[in-house]
Structures are given as C-alpha cells and as structure tokens.
C-alpha cells in the first residue's frame, strides 16, 4: 500500500473511530459471526477481563489514598469495602499515676481506642502466645486475685492489690474489627504539611507554573512556521520538512548537558525560564509536524481566493488558517500540556535547584518513594494529586487527543 493510501486510511478510519467513541453509534457489524452468540459472549468476557486488568492498579491506588495508614497495612485495598480485623498491642495506663482505690485494692480504668473510633474488640488476650484467649466482657484472671476485663468498646478495668497495680501498665493483645472507613486526612497531610510527606500543594502550583507557559509559547512559533511550510513556496521547503521529521525522534537526553551549559553560560541558570525554553524547544518538532500536516489538508480554494482578493500572507494566517486549525492546535496543546505536566527529566535538569523551592510533583513523588517508601497512604495520595489534572484533561479532551495521535503518530 502506498504511503498516500495509508494516510487516507488513517484519516478515514479516524472518523469511524470518533463515531464509535463519542456518539455511541456503533457501526453495524459486517456479520462476521456477530450473530453467533457464543463467540460474542467470549468477546464480551475478554474485553471485560482486559478492562478490569487495566483499571485495577489505578483503582487500588485511588482506594488506598482514602484509607488510614493502619488500614492500609492491615489489609489490602480490596478489603476496604469490608470490615477489617486488626491485631494490636495496647498497654493499660501507667498505674502509679492513674490508679484509684477501690474495694480494698486498686483499679485502673481506661479506654484503648481513640475517641470517636467505631472499632469493636473481637477477641483479646494478655499474652502474646494467646492473643485470642478471651471474648469482650470476659474477665481475665491474672493470678492472686489480679483481674482485667475488656469490653467490646475498648473500655477496660484492671483490678488488683497495691503490689499488682504498679510498675508498668498491663499489656493487652487486641483483635479489633474496624468498619470500612474512608478519610480525607491523607489529602490534608500531603497537600498542606510542609517537610517530609507534604508540600504537594506547592509542588502542584510549581507544576502548573511550568506547564502552562511551556504549552502556550511553542504554539504560536510553530503555527507560523507550519503555515510557511504548508502554503508558501520557497526553495528548501522539502528539506526543512524532512529536518523537522528527523528532529522528532532525537532523544532529548542528548540535549541535557549542552543546554544546561548554555543556560548556565548565558545567565539563565536553573529556573522556570530555563525549563520553559527547554520545553518549547523540545515541543516544537511535534508542534510544527502536527500543524503542518493539518494545514496542508485545508481547502486550497479558500486560501487562493483570499490571495486573489488581495489578502497578505499575514492576514490569511491570522484570519483564515488559525481559526480553521483549531482542532490541530487543541490536539497539540493537550499533548504538550500532558507531557510537560508529567515530565520528570527536564524538570530535574533545568528547573530544580538545591533549594528545592521549585520542585515539581513528579520529583516530589520520587522523593517520597525514597524517604517514605512504606507509607502508602502518603504515596497513594501524592500520586493521585498529581494525576487529577491530567486525568480531567484526558477525559474532557479525549477527542482532540485521539485526533492528534492519529495525525502525529510518528513521534
């Protein structure tokens, strides 16, 4: 198949895809065994299986971000919808401080669970070898008249003589049922606590500060160039288009050291200006390529009529080409926004300095993985804070994203 025909296929196909994806009008099947219900069932089931496989990891992280550290470490996220059983060790209050005289001896009374907790004791014990020896309300005999009892709500009474109720508090091994409980505390911690585990709010705004100018600035520069490459005749045009296609695949890793040297040399240093410029440079090939491909396909008549009517190239570009190219502009904006928002490498090299004031979310998460690797409530929440915006952009602008992918699948 020739290249031309292939492109035609993709374009024609894209319209079909949009029909399916966005208007819900499925093309009537060609009847390939479409009526064989057994096969259709297999198709339904395998698609369902794949979708679950694809969504499950993300869903697990989402659920985890709403659970407390205790819940996360006591059961998998799939257990979040059911009551979970937690095994914990408690100690009664310090007898020397809290004991009260009662019935010729002493008693320490207290409550194991935090106020407002909805936990319930299932079983409990006083020795690590028999942690489920007693049921709630049962009285445990500790010998020589010393007793302790724990009720389901976590209240305990520890009785004995002067000698027994002293020293350290009696240990209790408790198996408690914690009802499913979801909390926004993690988000509060991750967003607003400074220092380890927090500061995502600042990183969020830093990321936004990186992404928006780095999305807007390349568009205009690229649009003019794309117009020239699509609709103006000049020697060397084909060569320049080829150059853009070539630069599309140059790994940006090659640019790190030379550009960092350049930035340090001309005084930009590490900072927002540097990262905006870098993202602009790295985004341009795709921008020019996408926009040129789109502009070439615009109807020739409109542009030539405008020329005949005496419009200058500048007027044609601003009044005709730009408005007509909106879908391509939108597609590139989404790409560039997602890419700059999700980027780690460029920010590491061109933005983040030793002060850490300009850290972005991806960097913050990598940092958390290092320092708080086991704290899944923090990691999951930080991960989701960083994903909210791209996911929203994705679901709202999917049609432009798809269109852009179909037009620019060389990158």
């Amino acid at each position: 198949m020739t290249e031309e025909a292939d492109r035609g296929t993709i374009v024609a196909g894209s319209q079909g895809f949009f029909r399916g994806l966005f208007k819900g009008k499925e093309r009537v099947q060609e009847g390939i065994a479409g009526q064989k219900s057994g096969l259709m069932w297999a198709v339904h089931l395998s698609v369902a299986f794949l979708v679950i496989l694809w969504v499950l990891p993300t869903f697990g992280l989402l659920v985890s971000s709403f659970r407390t550290a205790d819940q996360i470490s006591s059961s998998g996220w799939w257990g979040a919808l059911f009551p979970s059983e937690v095994n914990e060790v408690y100690r009664a209050l310090d007898p020397d401080e809290f004991r009260e005289a009662a019935d010729g001896g002493f008693v320490v009374m207290g409550q194991l669970f935090d106020e407002g907790s909805t936990r319930e004791v299932v079983t409990w014990g006083t020795s690590s070898r028999a942690i489920a020896a007693f049921t709630p309300g049962e009285v445990a005999d500790l010998g020589d008249g010393e007793t302790i009892t724990l009720s389901a709500d976590g209240a305990y009474e520890w009785r004995g003589n002067d000698d027994q109720i002293s020293g350290r508090g009696q240990r209790m091994f408790v198996t408690a049922a914690a009802p499913p409980e979801f909390t926004f505390d993690n988000y509060r911690t991750v967003l607003f606590t400074e220092g380890s585990g927090g500061g995502m709010a600042k990183a969020f705004f830093n990321t936004l500060t990186v992404a928006i100018p780095a999305t807007i600035i390349p568009i205009l520069i690229a649009a003019f160039a794309a117009y020239a490459l699509a609709w103006m005749e000049f020697p060397g045009r084909a060569l320049l288009v080829a150059a853009v296609v070539g630069l599309l695949v140059v790994p940006l890793q090659l640019a790190l050291i030379p550009l960092l040297k350049l930035h340090l040399g001309i005084g930009i240093g590490k900072g927002y200006l540097g990262v905006w410029l870098a993202h602009t440079g790295f985004g341009l090939p795709l921008a020019i390529y996408l926009l040129r491909n789109y502009m070439v396909g615009l109807p020739k008549d409109i542009i030539e009529n405008a020329r005949v009517d005496g419009a200058t190239d500048f007027q044609i570009f601003v009044k005709i080409i730009l408005p007509l190219s909106f879908p391509a502009l939108a597609a590139f904006s989404i790409f560039q926004f997602l890419w700059t928002w999700n980027d780690l490498l460029v920010a590491l090299v061109f933005l983040i300095d030793a002060s850490g004031e300009t850290t972005v979310m991806t960097k913050q998460i990598v940092e958390l993985l290092g320092t708080r690797g086991g704290n899944w409530e923090i990691l999951a929440t930080a991960g989701f804070v960083s994903m909210i915006v791209p996911l929203a952009v994705f679901f709202m602008m999917q049609r432009y994203l798809v269109r852009g992918l179909l037009a620019g699948s060389v990158k």
Binding site: G24, P57, R237, L369
Partner: protein, 332 residues
Amino acid sequence: MNPALQGILTIVIGVGACVGYFYFANQILDKVIFPARGPNTGRNINRANMIRPWLFIFPAFFALGLYLAYPVVETLRLSFLDRDAGNAFVGFENYAQLTREAKFWEAMRNNMLWLVVVPALSTALGLLVAQLTDRISWGSIAKSLIFMPMAISFVGAGVIWKLVYEIRPDEVAQIGILNAILVGIGAEPQNWLTIPFWNNFFLMIVLIWIQTGFAMVILSAALRGIPEETVEAAIVDGANPFQIFFKIKVPQIMPTIVVVWTTITLTVLKVFDIVFTMTNGQWETQVLANYMYDKLFRAGDWGVGSAAAIVLMLLVSPILVWNVYNARKEMR
C-alpha cells in the same frame, strides 16, 4: 517575584513578542524594505514574497537549531573530551571506557529486551483490544478506560505498580495484589522487583500498560478504515472470523502496525522515568537513559555520559532515517 506571576508575565511577554515579531517584521518588509509602490512595485512585491517565508519560519528553526540540532553536535564533541583533564581531547577513550563497564552492557542488554518485548506486546494487545471492542456496544467505554494510562505520568504509573508489586513480611497481610494472590493459592510471596532478570519484565509491564492504549487508538482507526467489500467478499467465500482477522484485516493495516511499532520503539529507547522511579537501575534493571543520567549528573562524568547519549542517538537513527525517507516520499 511569585512564580505564578512570573509565569503569567512570561506568557504575556512570550506571546506578545511572537505576535509583535511576526506583525512588525511583515510591516517592515512590506513598507520599508520593499515598499509596494514607486517604480519597482512589481519587483518589490516579488522580493518581499521571497523573503516572507523565511520570516515566518525563522523563530521556530532558530529554536530547533539551538535546542535540538546544536546539542547533538555538542554532545558528540563532549563525548571525545575528558572533563577531569581540563576538557582534553581523548579520542575514543570515553567509548572504550563505556565498553569496559559491566553496567553499560547490562543497560544495553536490558534495553534490547525492552526493545523486543514492549513494542511487540503493546502492539499485539492494542490490536486485540481494537478488534474486540469494535464489535460490542460498550466498546467505546472500554477503549476509553484502556486508553486512560496515557494521561498518567511514568512516575505516577511507577507508584501505581509499586503498590501492585508490594511485598510484606510473611506474618502480616500482603497488601500488594500480586502477592495476595500468591499467598491465596498457597505460594510464597515474591519480592518482584528484586528478582534479577525477571524484574525487567515487571518494569516492562508498566510501559506496556501505558502504551497499549496508544496502539489501540491508532489500530482501531486503521481497522475501521478497511474497505468493507474485502471483508464481505471473505465472508461470502466462507472465511471464519480468525481467517478474516489474520488474512484479510491484518495485512491491510500492516503499514499502520509498522508505524505504531516504531513509535513505541522510540518511547522504549528513551525510557527513563519508570526505571528511575521503581528501581533506579538496581537489581540489574539498568537501562541506557538512566545509566546516562547516572553518569552525567551523579558521577559528573560528562565524557562517558555523552558517549552513552551518542549510543542512544545511534540506536534511534535507523528510525530517523526511515521516517525522513517516508516523509520525503510523501512530499513528492
């Protein structure tokens, strides 16, 4: 200054400068240098029109040159210098050192593994999903959900999958779903990311998870572009669904499959964030891009780092040549 304010200012200045440049450059060209009046009107208009395209493309190509073309040349130059010896020219010594390092060969081996496995599985799964969802009423929702990981950063995906692979000590409940399943069927939990060699595949799964959606979107469009007559003819001739898929549809979308394959190959060659986030190259999971980052920014060895970058560039260049060749063919 507040970064947000600085950002807004940059947008205003950047956009203003762009518009200003294009507007005034045109004005100066048309009114001052080659005015469209006087005795040479015709010649002036022609001359202005010869220069205008260059005005339009200058900013873009200046930036491309400075930010992509120049660094390639500069990196090549740096790869022949030794930074510690006052940037003395050392010929191919950096490359020689590269070949003596076990970590480099580990990175090369892993990159090759990635290069084979990820594009193949992503494309195959993408094709499978594209074909299956094409035939069911809720296919668009399914596509949307499988496409979703495209929006998630590699770092975010790293966190998501680290939870999947999480291992806990034997005596407490497993919270990673993989190990929970293993324990559920009575097997020993595994520390997936530290099993040499196989851990590479567990990292690859993350990229496959992300790239399958991309492959699916493109291939789905291509499948729908297949002329219906060819399929109908095959049905009339009594072909079964599998024959139709493999013998009628796949050959017709072969060019698109190649495009998808090479695009994913490019992504794979440059893979950095996933390894950086999940293992940082430990337990024999090093890849070229991360190796290069280590050399450049942790060891400060620009010579060897640049040499590694050039190796990366060489690996990419066949695709570069192929793309340029196709683009030129298309232009003609």
